[in-house]
């Protein structure tokens, strides 16, 4: 018996918030996956954060509890079923308990995506009572040194405590580890740590380059050899440990010949409502030029999903130009990521430069070369924090964002 005769894996999400890909087999235009980026405020300052570098603009105009609850109701009517409550750090809002209760009432399968900072016994008990289905905890490394360095905070001990708290409340242990140059050499130890914590799921999410991680690309990118070795270790661990821990290894697109089918297609299964109410088909869509994204303060989600020009713009394949238009693989990856195309080439409709058929593929090769350049690697990392966001908005760090066609 094949899986096809039983059912289809509609959205087997192998990538999450830190990345922009959602792998899936089926296409249907229903926003099955709703990501609520409830705030951009965050106590961590991770160098690899995909959030927009100008997030500081959106920290004073967050949606109210009532607006979030309305958004959950409207999305559910459109077929949304998997709910991610993310950020920033969602726990910085004090109404996550209310959002969780409403999500349960509506029949969502809800997931709190958190750094763990702000999770207390009292709050986790309220989430449990309210019907939150699981908690995804970000971990950074097995060493205190790297954890504290890459997040620019002292959070190492806290994360271990929070992991125990999650387990203690009967939640599945779902870990997310963003992989970059500083922790890729610790893959085996990271997997052993996950195993020791009793993790049921672990996502090893190789950094993809959007937002802050694009600004810090030369400092974060590992070598191809390191990625291959990390994948080998992961496969070896997977064989040895069997099925008790599901391991998702998210391959970094820069080292592939073909682009990812970003978000499983523009406006196919994924919808994001951001802290200030913008409705987006992917995390970084606001970098695209000449696009007016709907906002829940002005229009309903049904209009956003079905009728807004922004959501319809890159659905399907009609918008494509060469080499995608006549490519026999165009249905497979839908030309990759529009944001990546625009950020790197200045043309959102160009083939994703990750593709070896792209006339801009040299940009990816150059980025890989740059990451081996010791001078660039030694430049200080721009950590994700309010101060740096304000500076970027004010036009500082120009030399770091100059080569991109929009503020990452």
């Amino acid at each position: 018996m094949t899986q096809a005769s039983l059912g289809e894996s509609v959205v087997q999400k192998v990538v999450q918030a830190q990345n922009n890909g959602v792998a899936a087999s089926a296409t249907q235009t229903q926003p099955l996956w709703l990501l609520a980026e409830v705030t951009y405020r965050c106590p961590l300052h991770c160098a690899f954060c995909y959030n927009p570098t100008d997030y500081d603009k959106h920290t004073q105009n967050e949606l109210t509890t009532e607006q979030w609850i309305q958004a959950l109701r409207d999305a559910r009517k459109l077929g949304a079923i998997q709910l991610g409550i993310s950020g920033g750090e969602p726990l910085l809002r004090d109404d996550i308990e209310d959002i969780v209760i409403e999500a349960k009432k509506l029949g969502y399968y809800s997931n709190l995506i958190t750094s763990g900072v702000g999770l207390t016994e009292k709050r986790i008990q309220a989430f449990k009572d309210g019907g939150l289905d699981h908690i995804q905890l970000s971990m950074h490394d097995i060493t205190e040194e790297i954890n504290n360095f890459i997040t620019n905070t002292k959070t190492f001990e806290l994360k271990k405590k929070v992991a125990a708290m999650i387990k203690g409340h009967g939640y599945p242990m779902v870990l997310n580890v963003v992989i970059h140059r500083y922790n890729i050499g610790h893959m085996k130890q990271i997997l052993e740590m996950a195993d020791a914590l009793g993790a049921e799921y672990i996502e090893l999410a190789n950094t993809q380059y959007y937002g802050w991680s694009l600004v810090n690309r030369s400092q974060l990118m590992p070598t191809k050899e390191q990625v291959d070795e990390a994948e080998r270790i992961t496969n070896e661990f997977r064989e040895k440990s069997g099925s008790k821990m599901k391991i998702f290894f998210v391959v970094p697109d820069y080292f592939s010949d073909r682009p990812k089918k970003c978000m499983n297609g523009w406006g196919e299964v994924f919808m994001i409502v951001t802290a200030n109410g913008d409705v987006l088909p992917c995390h970084s869509a606001r970098v695209l030029p000449n696009m007016q994204f709907p906002n829940v303060k002005d229009t309903g989600l049904e209009y956003s999903w079905k009728d807004s020009p922004a959501f319809n713009k890159y659905r399907g394949t009609d918008w494509m130009k060469e080499p995608c238009r006549t490519c026999d693989e165009k249905e497979k990856d839908l030309g990759g990521c529009r944001c990546q195309s625009f950020l790197l080439t200045g043309d959102a409709e160009a083939a994703d430069p990750v593709c070896s058929k792209s006339p801009h593929h040299h940009l990816i090769e150059k980025a890989i070369e740059d990451s081996k350049n010791p001078v660039l690697a030694a430049q200080p990392i721009v950590f994700r924090n309010d101060k740096n966001s304000k500076k970027i908005i004010a036009g500082e760090f120009k030399e770091l964002v100059d080569e991109f066609h929009a503020l990452p």
Binding site: M1, S5, L6, G7, G79, Y109, H134
Partner: protein
């Protein structure tokens, strides 16, 4: 096969998995961390009979009564159990 499905076995949905009817999709689904599976009609019929008490043999018998015209329904049902167990959607009670 390592653990063949026995008629006397009782299965339940795996921990942290949820089975529900989705109106928007007009189908049953299984939800779990980071994923979801949309079930075809027959699979939904089997899953909704898992109450933690009925064993495989009883579910087969019940489905035979409900769908008297379905050919070879038993091997389909057993195959479904095998797959669902291998995917980690079901656990043995």
């Amino acid at each position: 096969m390592e653990n063949p499905i026995q008629h006397t076995d009782i299965y339940a949905l795996a921990h942290h998995h949820r089975f529900q009817w989705e109106e928007a999709q007009q189908s049953y689904v299984i939800l779990f961390p980071e994923g979801m599976v949309k079930l075809h009609g027959g699979a939904g019929e089997v899953l909704k009979r898992l109450d933690g008490k009925a064993n495989v043999g009883e579910i087969v018998a019940d489905l035979k009564v409900t769908f008297p015209d379905a050919d070879e329904i038993e091997s389909d049902i057993i195959g479904m159990f095998e797959l669902a167990v291998s995917k980690g959607w079901l656990r043995k009670v």
